[in-house]
Amino acid sequence: METVFDRPHALSDVTLSYCPGCTHGIINRLVAEVIDELGMEGKTVGVAPVGCSVTAYNFFECDMQEAAHGRAPAVATGIKRVHPDHLVFTYQGDGDLAAIGTAETVHAAARAENISIVFVNNAIYGMTGGQMAPTSLVGQVTQTTPYGRKVENQGYPIRMSEMLSTLQGAAYIERVSVDSIPNIKKAKAAIKKSFQCQLDKKGFSMVEVLSTCPTNWGLSPEEALKWLRENMMPQYPLGVYCDRLQEEVEK
């Protein structure tokens, strides 16, 4: 019988720790599919963050390092400088990348560090039980903004893709979503482009993936997808924010 659908080889045969209905699992799978398609599993080192994907080192078949909260781009930098021909990626959430690890993220991009970041933005701290994230929307109710995020108290959400795209060291930055089949396909293409960018030694790349958190948003998985489309997409428009892949890298 012909196999038409199977687990990617780079995705470990283990039970993922994500809540039911969360889209992290889809994104993990996309990363593994891309590693398979590029034939890079044996020469890939992934970096897991602190957050919902803290145990992601158990989910991929390639070598993995677990980083301290927010430090994944620095850890990836250390790995990449030792193994410049390997594929080095980080998998980070919004708290990890856009709050505690902002400096590491910005400077990895500024250095044109030749690494790939998969940035999962679900507008909330999931692992710790639903606190306000740097990407939480104005008005969004969380455990630490029980009356909604108020501009006068907590200011505005950070648009990381837009911000990082202003840096000359960034080669490719795209924001995607995994709320629908067409968008999942686009997300995979973006991750592949980012990894290929690294293999071509073009410099820093990041794919921001809008993702759901049904548990902490207090919604069903289906309602969560709808909430993402209606609330997150206007604040975080999908698209390519930076593409310097055709430019010659300055030596």
Partner: protein
Amino acid sequence: MEKKVLMKGNEALAEAAIRSGCRFFFGYPITPQTELAAYMAKQMPKRGGTFLQAESEIAAINMVYGAAGAGARVMTSSSSPGISLKQEGISYIAGADLPCVIINIVRGGPGLGGIQPAQSDYFQATKGGGHGDYHLLVFAPSSVQEMADLIGTAFDKADQYRMPAMIMGDGMLGQMMEPVAFQEERDPSSLPEKPWATTGTMMKRKKNIINSLYLTPEELENLNNDRQKRYQTIMENEVRVEEYQTEDAELIFVAYGTIARITMSAVNMLREEGIKAGLIRPITLWPFPTEAIYARAAAETSKAFMAVEMSQGQMIEDVRLAVNGKKPVYFYGRNGGMVPDQEAIVKQAKQYICK
């Protein structure tokens, strides 16, 4: 050994590290260790290595984590306030059993403190520093030559025991120039293999994971207990200590680093006056030379001990534990960047002896 050259301590550390096969350095500027990073910036590109100025000490130590986990011989350097910032990463490095070398050219604290030499980071270096039960191997050289000699040892021992090692100097050692002879350069490819490192599976082995997270309490306790066993082995085998004129000494000084050299002069001055003084100089601060000190404390000849430190008294706690009540333990120290001379030590010692 090659011909002697005149060099600053900071530069000698850098040169000796490169000769020990270190090809990766991640740092952030801070006085008084600046020359070390500057030397690395100049030399690493010429010698096939990587120098990277990070955006913070936090980033630098996490780059060290990544590179060490990837199998490289790697180093960072800083001074007290910067070392405080690195503590998060050092705890993770210890928790993930990664070898690396961290240089602390200590300056006065707390806070921004000053930029003059001090030894006030002893607690931080020897009692953990970051969170969790862990130790660093801590080496305390007292000359530029010893700095150059100990760095290779620090790298080798870090690899052997899979743990971070620290060279704890001070602003004086880092800044002063002395003649130094270096060991022959080692080829990084000749260093021992690290089969646990994330070098890529090449589809030939199971994946390697560098990690310090263990959510099952039993598993974490077992791993911590295994690490403690390793620490026990280290305490039994890796103590380094120098004794000077202790054989018949009645007053025994305990001092390390810069102040140990000055104390040695104080011993000579006291001897000239007919006072039998001696010096125990810990070269490793962890593991601490507890047994060597206890042996002298238990001997009939010794009457008193005196810890001399460039701090308000930190190592003295370990000296007291080692002496174990056998003899009185006195203290003399200056801090905040003050370095006492031998006359001050002699004067203080006489006060205690004449009690």
